[in-house]
Symmetry: C2
Subunit: 343 residues, 2 copies
DNA sequence: ATGAAAGCGCTAACAC
DNA sequence: GTGTTAGCGCTTTCAT
């Protein structure tokens, strides 16, 4: 017998429903999908069988057949970094209502890992990808995307050579502008010896540029020693602060690559007895929840994580549901600047 | 022609590899899986074809056939709640090395949503589930799990009627004990009017019990008014504090259902000019990153999120790889108590 | 208004 | 050591 009917245990499959209702598999399929008319009486009967058997369609099988898995993959550096949960939430809030499930993977910012995760995701037939690359250059993405699955990248607004066109949909924040605004604020307060505590990876360069551009414009060439790069973590901030604050001519203000680093800077300021903002002004980036909680509360550039998530998902969705097939788009999500107590 | 060969675009499939290498599909499959010996020369040829065509097996098809999707579903209330990212990270850190991908879904703590997500996950043929139920009672899970897919629940240690046995693998924290410890600490400091600001949902009852038990033991029956239940959020803490601190005989200490609430309590203490811990001692629960950052830094019960994640994934994994098929297990992850500045 | 049958891309008996 | 073939559970031509 070809049909494993009467399998009393386990999930019912479509063939059992068909037999139970006395119709063909095709008819069951169509009463479910509504893609073809089914006589009222037949439909009722099928529906009743479905209920009785507790039938639920197997999405794997469906996906194999339709080439649509209703699945999306989100690849970020680390969900433990408080910036990303909101991004993830924003994405899911727009995707879930459309029936998409989301794979979440942490790349730890390693290029090899990012590459692997993209490949693996595609192997799993995801319908789309949202990637926040950290080490991987955007130009590296192309070759990985052989079968053209839509991807949107979340990144700092890139200073891309204007000759090569946008390759992928992307949602970007104007990190450069955000840091510039923060730096100008400090300048206006009269600070002149301002340092920049940077992390590494994708977000680092634009943030640095925003700082360096502004400083050069205002005070001319400035000491290289005022720029130090560690990591985008609290410890990174601690390390950077130790270096910066040991200088004989220590800075009166430090702009940080992100809030986590700023919190680290606050740690060492407290440790060595520097009053913030009296002796040292500190500015962060991101505006994670903890920024407001730090003492003093962090003055920071807000990186709208949730909005970033939503926008990227909307971009992706427009391709998934097929109402957009045009060239790559870039949506810029504006940053803003929030003045609290640390500067 | 049955075989869609020469499809110059898109992904190569196994049949193309087979043809290119001049072998059968079976042989390709076996050189990949290693589940049957393939002559060295043949294998080399196949491998070369695979490389040349850039072939990658379709995991959906594989999953359909093998009934193993290498996929796990994680259902939590909200990834934006700072407690959960570490849980998620812990899970992924143990699952990913074994090839499992993780679906992440937010239930927002609604029973209907939790139920739906479990069903949908199963429809997608996940190999296992990890659920942190908020509204859904554990006993509600049974019916949803018709085809026995392994599930592990992350929950506060339940006071289950000792007659009915454990139904599912679970990893629990001894919330009751944790809160009791915190309460005893306050008692030892001489506090007598101690209030409890609770949230709602699964974690609420055990935490309350830990408080109430201890209080009754120490000071006898105490005013019901000292217990208020709002929500496990910062705003919930604010609401609770307003109620509690308006009393003519306001408490000298408040134990909170979680850190977010404690932070909210701190907000109103500051607002109405109460010194913490001088005028009011505050204790939280969870020890999220922000707890240390709050001012004053929160004295709190540490709920080891990352360990919870790891343990639950290990429990699940033991069933997935099939070396455990016994009865449901419960692993208790101990809480600890960290004394900082708020109490 | 409904069915038969082909096949999505793969694995695994069952041959030889 | 390798190939043939029958599915996994579904959707979708193509018939009638």
């Amino acid at each position: 017998m070809t049909l494993d009917n009467g399998r009393s245990k386990g999930r019912a499959v479509i063939a059992q429903v068909a037999q139970h209702a006395g119709v063909s598999i095709t008819t069951v399929s169509h009463t479910l999908s509504g893609r073809r008319h089914v006589a009222r009486a037949t439909r009722e009967r099928v529906l009743e069988s479905i209920r009785e058997l507790g039938y639920r369609p197997n999405q794997l099988a469906r996906g194999l057949r339709t080439r649509q898995s209703l699945t999306v993959s989100l690849i970020i550096p680390d969900i433990s970094n408080p910036f990303y949960p909101s991004v993830a939430r924003g994405i899911q809030d727009v995707l879930k209502p459309h029936g998409y499930y989301t794979f979440l993977s942490n790349s730890d910012g390693e290029a090899a890992s990012e590459r692997l995760l993209i490949r693996d995701s595609i192997d799993r037939s995801v319908d789309g990808l949202i990637v926040a690359p950290f080490e991987l250059a955007i130009s590296d993405l192309g070759p990985l995307l052989n079968p053209s699955v839509p991807i949107v990248v979340i990144a700092p607004k890139a200073e891309l050579p204007s000759n090569d066109p946008l390759q992928f949909d992307s949602v970007v924040t104007d990190d450069r502008h955000g840091v510039a605004e923060a730096t100008r604020y400090l300048l206006r307060q009269g600070h002149r010896r301002i340092a920049f505590a940077n992390g590494s990876g994708a977000p680092a360069s634009e943030r640095l540029a925003g700082f360096a551009d502004t400083m050069r414009g205002a005070v001319g060439p400035f000491s290289e020693g005022l720029i130090v790069a560690t990591a985008f973590t609290r410890q990174g901030g601690i390390d950077a602060a130790r270096i910066l604050l040991e200088r004989q001519d220590r800075p009166s203000a430090i702009v940080c690559g992100n809030d986590l680093m700023a919190i680290g800077v606050l740690d060492v300021a407290r440790e060595i007895g520097l009053a913030v903002p009296g002796d040292l002004a500190v500015i962060g980036f991101d505006d994670i929840d903890a920024a407001e909680l730090a003492s003093p509360a962090l003055t920071t550039v807000v990186n709208p994580a949730y909005a970033l998530g939503r926008s990227s998902a909307e971009l992706l969705l427009s391709r998934l549901v097929g109402d957009y097939t045009g060239p790559a788009r870039e949506v810029v999500v504006p940053t803003s600047f929030v003045i609290r107590a640390s500067a």
